[in-house]
Symmetry: C2
Subunit: 214 residues, 2 copies
Amino acid sequence: MSTVTKHLQSHQRRPEARPQELLKAALDLFAEKGYSATRLEDVAIRAGVTKGTLYIYFENKAALFRAVVEDGIFPVLDKGEDIVANFAGGTSELLSYMTQTWWTLVGESKLSGICKIMVAEAANFPEMAAYFHNEVIVRGERLARKIIETGINTGEFRAIDIEVAVDSLFSPILKLMLWRHSFANYSQSALEPRAYIEKHLDIVLNGLMAGAKS
Amino acid sequence: MSTVTKHLQSHQRRPEARPQELLKAALDLFAEKGYSATRLEDVAIRAGVTKGTLYIYFENKAALFRAVVEDGIFPVLDKGEDIVANFAGGTSELLSYMTQTWWTLVGESKLSGICKIMVAEAANFPEMAAYFHNEVIVRGERLARKIIETGINTGEFRAIDIEVAVDSLFSPILKLMLWRHSFANYSQSALEPRAYIEKHLDIVLNGLMAGAKS
DNA sequence: TATTAATAACTAACTGGACAGTTATTAATA
DNA sequence: TATTAATAACTGTCCAGTTAGTTATTAATA
């Protein structure tokens, strides 16, 4: 065992850039493989460093994951809250705009993988699950509720159960995100996500029954 | 290291009962922890045997999981196909009956955990994912399609996109199943699943818009 | 401006625990 | 007594987290 090890390569030192590069690599791998199956060594290699370096910037695997969530999802929620607070048009238009924006910023991006991870690993990492639930899900649901409440208050929507309406509207988009990271290669859909979302909104807004309006 | 080991206990030999007991124990643990995080030793112990015995009855972990799926879900799909083939009433009633039956047989049972596992691990176990997709998801979707096609043909439903309608109707139930095994402890719903499902069907059948019928 | 001392970014190699799968041995049962 | 269910102890591998050692970079001093 040679204690005198040759270090053949010289390594750039860029302490400002490392955290973001590690977060990007981590998001890629977490989204692809899930939490447990992602190896920190792979994350490090993808970011162009070794595992030891990763531990300089992040305390442990859980802290890295938390940082990925905060870095990726919080800005999207901020944006969503901003849109809802400032939107001028009708509630149906807001719903359509919000879901399409969500799809662009989350569904299409690697962030949609976070959602799969949380469903998958919540039972094994209760602390992580509680954090994600409180910081992301609750916040997202509050946003959705607000939209539907507005629709009911303006008389645009019927006075249905808001909790259920939130899920009737957003569960298919959740499914779309989950499928992208699970069965995408096996289930070939005839539709693009954006068209799918529009058709879905049409169904939920206007109903399946013949004789329902427009 | 004593090669001469004392075997203090005497062990019952019940080769007929073992497989079912192992399947039951495996379903419990898979549903609770997921696929990777479930240890075969724990499955064996819960079934009252040791790990070596498990390997007498199942070739490996993947084979055990496959057996759990076949043993648990195939009978439910059989039953679903039977119901659809023989139902007499209207399509809305059939939808309601099917979703409630599904909830009783799958949602409420440990089987709902299988769904979570597949979403979670599909990317890491492509063979398992392909199998599950072809044998369970495709079969379930075919069933759902048939119901909606019937509704359109009888004039009960509008001529909407069937693929989208299937998801508009069933995604919230999927969400209910996934949540049961992930965020259940954090998100307290005001509604029981059965009431939730009825309200959801009301929304999708009749629409969210004010002025849509009944 | 050239030299050198201090700092900390970074690496490579290690540790320890976990777990899928194997096997030699024991003992129940037909 | 022959068969085989069942066990206990093992092997090999994987991986999060640690640490001892190396070197790029900064800045103080000559």
